[in-house]
Symmetry: C2
Subunit: 90 residues, 2 copies
């Protein structure tokens, strides 16, 4: 099985995550999974696009999955949030 690593995309600047992915791939990891929820989903797509267009041209988007996750708040209330998983490999 290929080595793989997960990068969680949050609210930091896009380039922080791009750097994390590029560093991992340059250290020999062949597969990186980007995970994001809610508004960070757009940023995850940006990270994938910037990595493959500007940094590592032999990276492919192997698969993209979307799902719904349930978030339970402090008072026991729950709400649904969309999530994305982008699998990059080279």
């Amino acid at each position: 099985m290929a080595e793989e690593n997960i990068v969680y995309i949050g609210n930091k600047p896009v380039m922080n995550y791009v750097l994390a992915v590029v560093t991992q791939m340059n250290s020999g990891v062949t597969e990186v999974i980007l995970k994001a929820r809610g508004r960070a989903i757009s940023r995850a797509v940006d990270v994938a696009e910037i990595v493959r267009n500007r940094f590592i041209s032999d990276v492919d988007v192997k698969s993209i999955d979307i799902s719904t996750e349930e978030i339970v708040g402090n008072e026991g209330t729950s709400s649904n949030v969309s999530a994305i998983e982008i699998r990059l490999s080279k």
Copy 2:
């Protein structure tokens, strides 16, 4: 070839787009493509998830593609924006 329709996701409330997709599918369209750019990407994922979890349970996400589009501004400056295309079919 299956009939298909495109729904462009912008800045309106999510349920507007959900309604557009549900209406099309109920009128006999078997495939709807959601297209979004930039920050609207998260909303496109929300639309896909809400349609299949709450409204039409036999809808599948057939494919998801991401890309980069170049936007040329008024003064000839250009910038890149990420885009997503989510193909829903039943």
